[in-house]
Amino acid sequence: MKITFDWLKDHLKTNLKEKNLLEQLTNIGLEVESVQSLSSDNQLFKVAKIIKTEKHPNADRLKVCDVNVGEKELKKVVCGATNASEGLITIYAPPGAIIPKTNTKLEIAKIRGVTSYGMLCSEFELNLSDESDGIIELSKKYKKNIGKSYFSKSKSNLIDLSITPNRPDCLGVKGIARDLAASGFGKLIIPKERQIKSKTKQTLKVKIKKEKGQGCSAFGSCLIKNVKNIESPQWLKDKLISVGQKPISAIVDITNYVMLDINRPLHAYDADKIEKGIIVRNSKSGEEFTALDNKIYKLEKGMCVISDNKGVLGLGGIIGGTRSGTEFDTKNILLESAYFDPRSIRNTAKKLNLDTDAKFRFERGIDPLSIETGLKRAASLIQEICGGEVSKIDIQKIESYKTKIINFDVNSFENIVGFKISEKEIQRILTDLGFIVKKEKNSLKLKVPSWRPDISQQIDIIEELVRISGYDKIKTIAPIKDRSKSTLTQTQRLFHFLQRAIASKGYLETITWSFTDQSYNNHFREAGKEIKIVNPISSELGVLRNSIFSNLIMYMSKNLDRGFKDLSIFEIGPVFTGSNPGEQKTVVCGLSAGKKSRLSWIDKERNIDLFDAKRDVVQTLSEVGYSSDQFFIDSKTPNYYHPGKSGRIFLDHKKDKVAAYFGEIHPNILKKIDIKTENLIGFEIFLENLKLSRKTLKDQKLKFAVSDFQKSERDFAFVVNKNVEAQELISVISNVSPNLISNIKVFDVYEGENIPDNQKSIAISITIQSSEKTLNDKDLEKINNSIIEAVENKTGAKIRS
């Protein structure tokens, strides 16, 4: 909402300065977004006429114009607008002028070799509108103003307010003035309502059809005959220009002015173009009309339209149609002032994807009792400026407005806000805001002003009171440092632990978007459901991720392109399994590229491999508190891993939920993505699949018991079939005599010479120690033999002699 202090003063008597005004507006919740000095130096912008245009010698799209700026000599101006043509009256900015939009100072400049003295302006550049297509076209009547300043002298800055959607009343200057006055900033001026002396009746019949979902509950109108739709007088033009609006014609300007002043949207029809009468009704499916934006709209069933016998004239409260629009030669007009239901307006506008100033206002709620005031103000202005005879006002209604009543408990204010104001002050504030206050036994009976659709209950009144009293009066009550519940749940603690455990192993934490590129996602989706976003910001971000890998690989690739070779990154976050709330899992996903050691004087170069990732995962899970002795590992992994070089980890042999995957990313994916690195290794840990220990650290610490009896180390080498996994041997050995055998380690795996094809040798070392005695040779021999026997029997291995 754009206002000026000058305009505010139409409604507000005050001696305070603009600086105070800006502060006060923000203090009462009418946030000042920006202050523009539209008027400073704007005297430089002059009405000018293009006398001659020539094609620029060095540029096809540019023209060199000779412009009459009211001086003896014509100015040469280079202009790129397609509408720059001989005879056009427009606005000229000389060198030295500051262009409001860009805040840049114009200088004499050579444009492609031709010197340009100033510039011809578009509405956009002058902050008059968003119209940037071509330069301003002024009507012929400006001919007499050539050389004169376009803007009138004004000292008022343009203040742009951000009005929250609950305050439609402040979409009019008067509403803002009322709030300011209630807060003690000046006094509200209540103008005398102009009375129109009228003898004639409104003869054009208006009917609101009583149908289900009728979006219009009241339709006021008057006829004004024999008007002369001329250009607005300077004061009106200045007023509109001062808030960045472009004057068009007196009738349009007047309706705009009334709308901006008291937030009362009006619509003027050319009465002669209306066939017989007005019918306000629901649209039929497929009905069409051409709106004032020159677009044809095809309507759905049930939209609120203003129509006549021939068809739709306009969408009520949203946009009028070209068929009945006013023009400079309009003689007789019908002025409409109606009430449209916000919900109906919003539905229609959403369906047609239409956004207009009227729609913006009606969907927030227009004062239903402003119908007559608005008509009177506009009609009397039209009569004053354009002449004509005004008819009596006709108001059709299918519903009467009922004043809302709230019983306000005065004590509730302090209860919510924490400080007290006197009942007298409460009454004063509410009265100033337009409430009718009646004191009752234990409460105040409040009649809510019709322009406040946002107020319906006690809490709304409390807000009004604290807003006007000032938020600075709210005390600061220091918080109590007391905790009755633990801050994090166990799952949340696990999340934080995993996050920092992985980072501590050399991985950089990333946060990537929860959505991703469909084609990347498909590499990692497996049988998962594809979850599409209906309205993505771009097609490359069209689906929710089924795996974090898609994003990590994309960004890994970008980093490799930046010239980094050996990188480890990870993310902990959601992946999605469905489009319902809760269909998501938390995954820790890591990705490493390149070499583990590169260009080292001390270590051999080697590529990063899956055992690096496996170490990081197993170590992390061990740090979390799971015993790696219990893990069960096999090689069944999703298809995006290398089938032979990847594994999955279960926390124990029950194998109910996969704790993690690790391994090389499938070479096909690397090829498709065209990622160049020595090796790409990833892992995923599934947070929800990790069982939470119910034990506290205190309970986890068992009695400290170690054996001081002598321990012996023994090495074995077994020859087994290639498909036998090391895990099997370890598991068999650990079951032989769990109390005596510990520290089982594979220290060599060998295939080749001296070993039959399809077989391999696995060398294992173990520690044997008793907690009861020193084992003698006989004891050790016995354990040795049982190990060999068990391994040979259960895995088909043979001890290597």
């Binding site: 806000v417 209950q457 709210i474 934490e509 910001i537 990154i569 998501q584």
Partner: protein, 355 residues
């Protein structure tokens, strides 16, 4: 000259010469071996006349000690010389680089979330979470933002179905709804997490982070809200004083509502929080609207309280001088390394937020 003296003199002389370790060991064995010269003298003690035996034994022991000490000294000298000689050869250039190591980092948003949790933990808040995909009811309707409410336009929402029933949450406020539906008052929670709006330019990212706060109990008023935020902002920016301004605003789910600005100034191109006469909007808050409490079956005549929502990314940017929001999610290795935190820097109550 007695045998003893002869032995002594002969070997003292020998030991004065230049000897290596093997020669010394030979001498040692010649003297003290099983049949060594000294050892055999000891065997003789029994055969010596009683009157002379004492003196003989005493002389023998003196000679034995003298020779033994001398031999040990010599051996030590040689061993020491050997080690020194070896050390001389073993000298290495210690300025050569160590084996390479890699440092992992924690993302600044994660660090900031931990900082926030740590601060609110101190004043009794616990952490709640909610799903990223929400239904339209929890995200809007239950929060007193019914369909057709113009406030919905302020949230550019990503939808997952054509009926617009399922969406990516536009704020963390639906966690309020979930928490209050699940438990009974009082409530004192924060809910950090990912939020989404279909907005993308220099200052907007389609995904960002918010932390929601909710405190519902008997007699919680706007003073408590102000106190809580004042405490939080001071602790977060690690400053003693903060300039804070409450401004009336409007959110459908709180009333009265406020936006909170903090004072700042720019000194030497750096932003200083808590001083100066410029204002920076950092959060929105207010008293939870009675309609919201009714929607979650909490009696607004018995319970009341406040809620707030803070942009986490923005807080991190302000605190750590990060200019570009989009960089948070760009995964540039250099950026992550620069703005990331060491995983050992865990913000906690007792050690504080900073090292």
């Amino acid at each position: 000259m007695s045998d003893l003296k002869k032995i002594r003199d002969e070997f003292i002389l020998k030991l004065k010469g230049k000897l290596d370790l093997a020669e010394l060991n030979q001498i040692k064995s010649d003297l003290f071996g099983k049949n060594g010269l000294v050892s055999s003298q000891f065997k003789k003690i029994g055969t010596i006349d009683v009157s002379e035996r004492k003196k003989f034994a005493s002389d023998l022991n003196i000679i034995k000690d003298e020779l033994q000490d001398l031999i040990n000294l010599k051996i030590n000298e040689i061993e020491k010389a050997n080690i020194n000689e070896k050390l001389e050869k073993e000298k290495i250039d210690v300025t050569l680089p160590e084996r390479s190591f890699v440092r992992g980092k924690i993302h600044p948003v994660s660090q900031t979330i931990d900082e926030i949790s740590s601060i609110f933990s101190e004043i009794g808040f616990s952490v709640e979470e909610g799903p990223d995909v929400e239904n339209e009811y929890n995200n809007f309707t239950a929060l007193n933002t019914p369909d057709n409410h113009p406030a919905r336009d302020m949230h550019d929402t990503f939808y997952l179905d054509d009926k617009k029933k399922k969406l990516l949450r536009t704020h963390t406020s639906p966690v309020q709804i979930r928490t209050m539906l699940k438990d009974k008052p009082p409530f004192k929670i924060i809910a950090p997490g990912r939020t989404y709006r279909s907005d993308s330019d220099q200052t907007h990212s389609p995904m960002f982070h918010q932390v929601e706060g909710l405190h519902i109990d008997k007699n919680i008023n706007m003073g408590h809200l102000k106190g809580c935020l004042n405490y939080f902002i001071k602790e977060f920016f690690e400053v003693k004083k903060i300039k804070m301004r409450f401004r009336p605003s409007h959110f459908p789910f709180t009333e009265p509502s406020a936006e909170v600005d903090i004072g700042y100034e720019i000194k030497d191109g750096k932003i200083i929080i808590g001083e100066g006469d410029q204002w920076l909007e950092i959060l929105g808050c207010g008293m939870v609207h009675p309609n919201v409490l009714k929607n979650v079956k909490v009696d607004p005549t018995k319970f009341q309280g406040y809620a707030f929502g803070i942009g986490i990314d923005r807080l991190a940017m302000l605190k750590y001088g990060i200019n570009d929001l989009r960089a948070f999610f760009d995964c540039d290795y250099r950026w992550l390394n620069h703005f990331g935190f060491d995983p050992l820097d865990v913000p906690t109550n007792y050690r504080g937020l900073s090292r």
